[in-house]
Amino acid sequence: MDTVTLTIDGRQVTVEKGKSVLEAAIAHGVDVPYYCYHPGLGVDGSCRVCIVKIEKMGKLQTACSTTCTEGMVVTTASPEVVAARASVFEFLLANHPLDCPVCDKGGECPLQDFSYTFGPERSRMEFPRREFDGAGVKADVDFGPTLLLNRNRCILCTRCVRFMRDVEGDAQIGITDRGYGSEISTFEEQGVISLLSGNLMDVCPVGAITTRDYRFRSRPWDNAQAVDTICTLCEKGCNTTAWLKAKPEWAKGARLVRMTPRLNPDVNGYWMCDIGRFDYHWVEGDRRVLQPHIRRGTSNDAAPWADALVAVKDAVDAAGGPASTFFYVSAHASLEELYVLRQIAAGAGGLTLAWRYREKPQPANTKFRIPSVDAPNVRGARDLGFDVGDPGQPADLSRMKAAVDAGQVKVLYVMDSGPDGSIGDVDWILAARQAGKIQTLIVHAVLHTALAEAADILLPASAFVEKDATYTNMDGRVQAASRVIPPPGDAVEDWQILVKLGVVFGSNLSFASSAAIREAIARDFASVPGYAGIPSLAFSRPVPAKTWLQGSNPSERWKWDFMFQDLPPVKFGEDFGPLPRADVIPLKEVK
């Protein structure tokens, strides 16, 4: 790697050749403010707040657009820079409404943070502020199905414009008019219609773009904890952070308040799609299965786990043993679950993996492609020896359908730990059950779906944020999804259900924890790239709000990896090695 060495504020700093002064400063913990620069969107040079003094250059330079050269001497805190920077902030705030107390971004707003640090203490501007769509809340206008826009707060950094143009691939946002009247807009005010629209809230450095989903649901200081995990709604496996709101036990509402993307250059970059970002309400929704249910005659009552397991055993025995039991499994099952399932289904009639396949409407030139397979672990199932057909294809259900039609399936065990619909089409199961081709339908699910309603025995499972589990994404990368909240009601982690069922199916399993299963996977599948390291995968534990509020702005989540060197990334392998587990991650001292 070619490097150059320069001096920033008297510190010798060595960076890769071609990096900008701003990148060097951020990487080495030198405080330089910036708005239009975003590592995923490149350099624009329009906000002017990153100005620094560089020796032998006549004027102050924007750090974001100046490339580091050997021997460069940069000053970020000389009186000249401080004064010039303060006046830039004065102009940025000249028309900003300063409604921070009612602004959704308040508390995690780079404009707030940097203005406090670098701005002047008072403004000399005495004229009325410019207003675009009205004062106060009247300025919040529709900006597509997921977003609201407040133009009064906008500082015209054009991050959203560049995101849509360069990443999304469809330049729906632009700046219309000029000068004083410049405003962020979409053609005919139709708003942003995109599956990546939620990222616009992340990139917006002020409260101009907010999501309808998270709007007014929480304040940053109320989000007591953040947990690094992964999204499991498709086979991309985006790295995410789940945010937990602090609330008393008796208070209404969910603890899980939002999902935001987390930098992983090899998987999702800085972004995630709207499906993963917004489709989490089912986890703490009203439709969760909280207890096992057993259907006896016309009644369908909640029952203890012991009774449910006995009922499963009776059903299997009544059907003539495991050979007439078939498994129909959503590819939302983690590696641990699939590993256990493979053992208990050894004597069963058959096992088919299913998933929903839907092509996402996206521009042809998008840089962030959302896969069509809506399940996180199809690749993992293939690695563990399940027959799942070619990569990136719809699930092949023909053999299962044939077995059902032939009347071989006396007991059908459906395992569906994903959200409603993620297992794909189940109407044919319901129809077969109606027609009497399936004697007993056992459903192991998280939600009261149509299938769960039709079940004879219903077992409550846990969602992806309720268990430590591992998944292999479409590129073969094994990633860990961490336990963020406990499963509700009597629901238990899926591997526990399966281990208990092992008794029914005659396999004597003695796994005491999901970690033990990971050890077994690593032993049996050491030849699969990456699998030998599964036991050393680090699961993230909640980072307390106190820590991240002190360390960095949470909407600048990508920067945490500079700030929290000790935060276990959800990665493993030779490069990273086994990482310590800790309940509280100490904040690294930031200079």
Partner: protein, 202 residues
């Protein structure tokens, strides 16, 4: 099929106050204009065709006088960009009109040099003579008065443009005479310029 979960937060209740350009009639280039545009587009690499947006918009304006949303969509399709990118250009430049204009457009420069040399006085004189304020068209549909940004002749401020013709060092009495001349003699009154921006229109 919707991929977004329903989010009802204030949907439809929050309307933007931004004035949209006119929707207008369905627009396609005439065969002649399309041929001209294709010739211009050939100057650019295939992936940079949208660089021709200004030329494409001038052709729209030549064809129907102003740029409508329908025209923006058509231009976007022809040059390969999004309608929003076209609207950005239309709304940025003062020479593109989003509403119908009169037969002649009087543009008064209001940028620094002209402002210092009394452009506001010129605008006042024109307002008085034409009976319209900046941005308006007179009742007969003859003249539209607009204030524009720098016309690039700062050494001869104040400058006004009548369509594509520059008239420099204009004092209020000069513009009154110019308007009278335009009313009586038509294009023959356009004498003050030493440059024409696009030489082929008249």
């Amino acid at each position: 099929m919707s991929f977004h979960p329903a989010m009802d937060y204030g949907r439809g209740r929050h309307q933007s106050a931004r004035a949209l350009p006119e929707e207008g009639e369905p627009f396609v280039y005439t065969a002649e204009n399309r041929a001209t545009l294709d010739g211009i587009l050939a100057h650019y690499p295939p992936d940079r065709r949208k660089s021709a947006v200004i030329a494409a918009l001038y052709l729209v304006q030549r064809q129907q006088g102003h740029v409508t949303r329908q025209a923006m969509r058509h231009v976007a399709e022809v040059i390969g960009c999004t309608p929003e990118e076209v609207e950005e250009v239309v709304s940025f430049y003062t020479m593109f009109y989003t509403r119908p204009v009169g037969r002649r457009v009087i543009q008064v420069c209001r940028t620094l040099s002209c402002a210092l040399m009394g452009a506001e006085r010129v605008t006042e004189a024109l307002t008085e003579t034409l009976g319209v304020r900046p941005g308006e068209t007179d009742a007969a549909g003859e003249f539209t008065l607009v204030e524009v940004e720098c016309l690039g002749a700062c050494d001869r401020a104040p400058v006004i443009g009548v369509d594509d013709h520059w008239h420099e060092c204009q004092r209020p009495e000069d513009v009154r005479a110019l308007i009278d001349g335009l009313r009586t003699k038509g294009a023959a009154a356009l004498t003050g310029c030493h440059l024409r921006v696009a030489g082929d229109t008249e």
